[in-house]
C-alpha cells in the first residue's frame, strides 16, 4: 500500500530547495545592478556644439554649405565658365576665300543682313581673321543677287 505524501511531514528545505548561486554572487550583484542603473557618461558628440548654436548661426552655416556645394558641383562637373580661347582664335588659320565661301553659301543660316550688322556692333572684329583683297571683295559682291546688293 502506498504511503500518502503529506507536505507538513516532509522536511522543508531551508532556506531554499535549489542549489546556491556561484560563490560571491551576492557580493557582486549590487555592483552589477548599480552599473546598469548609473547614468551613462555622455559620449562626446562631434556636432554637439552645432545643436547648441543659435538658430541664426545654424541657418547661416546651412546656407553657406548649400552654396558651397552648388559652386563645387559647377566647378567640378559643369561647363567651363569662360571659353579657353576666343572664337576668333580658331578662325585665324582658315583662308579668307573659304570663309567667304562658307558665309555666302546657302547652307549657312547667316544671311547678308547678319554680316552687315556684325561689324556695326563689333567694329574691327573681322580684322583679326578676314583680310580680303579688293579683288576678292569685288568678286564676292558680284556673285550676290542684285536685289540684296543694296543692303551692303
Amino acid at each position: 500500500m502506498k504511503t500518502p505524501f503529506r507536505l507538513e511531514d516532509h522536511p522543508r528545505r531551508w532556506p531554499q530547495p535549489l542549489s546556491s548561486p556561484p560563490t560571491g554572487y551576492f557580493e557582486q550583484l549590487p555592483t552589477r545592478v548599480m552599473a546598469r542603473v548609473a547614468p551613462a557618461a555622455p559620449r562626446p558628440r562631434p556636432l554637439a556644439w552645432l545643436l547648441r548654436a543659435p538658430a541664426a548661426l545654424r541657418t547661416g552655416l546651412a546656407s553657406t554649405l548649400l552654396l558651397g556645394t552648388f559652386a563645387a558641383s559647377l566647378w567640378l562637373g559643369g561647363a567651363p565658365l569662360a571659353p579657353p580661347t576666343a572664337p576668333t582664335a580658331s578662325l585665324d588659320g582658315v583662308p579668307p576665300a573659304q570663309l567667304v565661301e562658307y558665309l555666302t553659301s546657302g547652307e549657312t543660316h547667316v544671311d547678308l543682313l547678319d554680316l552687315a550688322e556684325l561689324p556695326a556692333h563689333h567694329l574691327g572684329i573681322t580684322k583679326q581673321y578676314l583680310q580680303p583683297s579688293a579683288t576678292e571683295l569685288r568678286a564676292a559682291l558680284d556673285a550676290q543677287p542684285a536685289d540684296e546688293a543694296g543692303l551692303l
Partner: protein, 190 residues
Amino acid sequence: MEDHEILAKFREPASRNLAFNQLVRKYQQRVYWHVRKMVIDHADADDLTQDVFVKVWKHLANFRQDAQLFTWIYRIATNECLSFLQSKRRRFFLPLNDVGAELAAKLAADPAVAGDEIELKLQRAILRLPDKQRLVFNLRYYDEMPYEQMAEVTGTSVGALKASYHHAARKIEDYVTNADHETPSTGEVD
C-alpha cells in the same frame, strides 16, 4: 537600514546611489530566490533579478508608501517572472507542457535536488502547477509570507489565495504519492 531611511536618502540626489545600493543589498537574496524558484535556472534568475532592480530604480521615485517596500518589490519581481515565462512560451510557440518539461530538465540537473528522490518528486510536482498557482505556493510554503502580504504582491484576494494554496498543496501531495505510477514527464496541470 530601515525602508523609510532608504526612501528618504533615495529622494536626495546626493545620496541616491548609496541608498539604492543599500536597498539592493537588503533585498537581493529574497528577490533572487523568489525569481529562481519560478525560472529554476540560475542564469535566467540572474538576468531577471537585475531587471527587477533596474525597474525598482526607475519607479522608486513614484513609489507610494501605502504598501510595504518589499511587497512592492516582490510584485515587480512576480510580474517579471510571469512575463518571462509567458514570453518564452510565445516566442517558441511552445505548448505549456514543453516549458514545464524544460524547467523539469533543469531541475533534474540541479545537484541540490538530483540526489534526493522525494525532494525531486516534490519539485517536479510544484513545477506541474500553473505559473500563478506555483507562485502562490512558493510564497506561502517557502517564504512563509502572510496571506495579507501575498494579496498585496499578487493583487488577489486573501480568500482566493487560501483556496489556491490548499488546492495546490493537495495536487502536489497527490502527485508525489502517485509519482511512481505516473509517467515521468512533467508539465503544468490545472
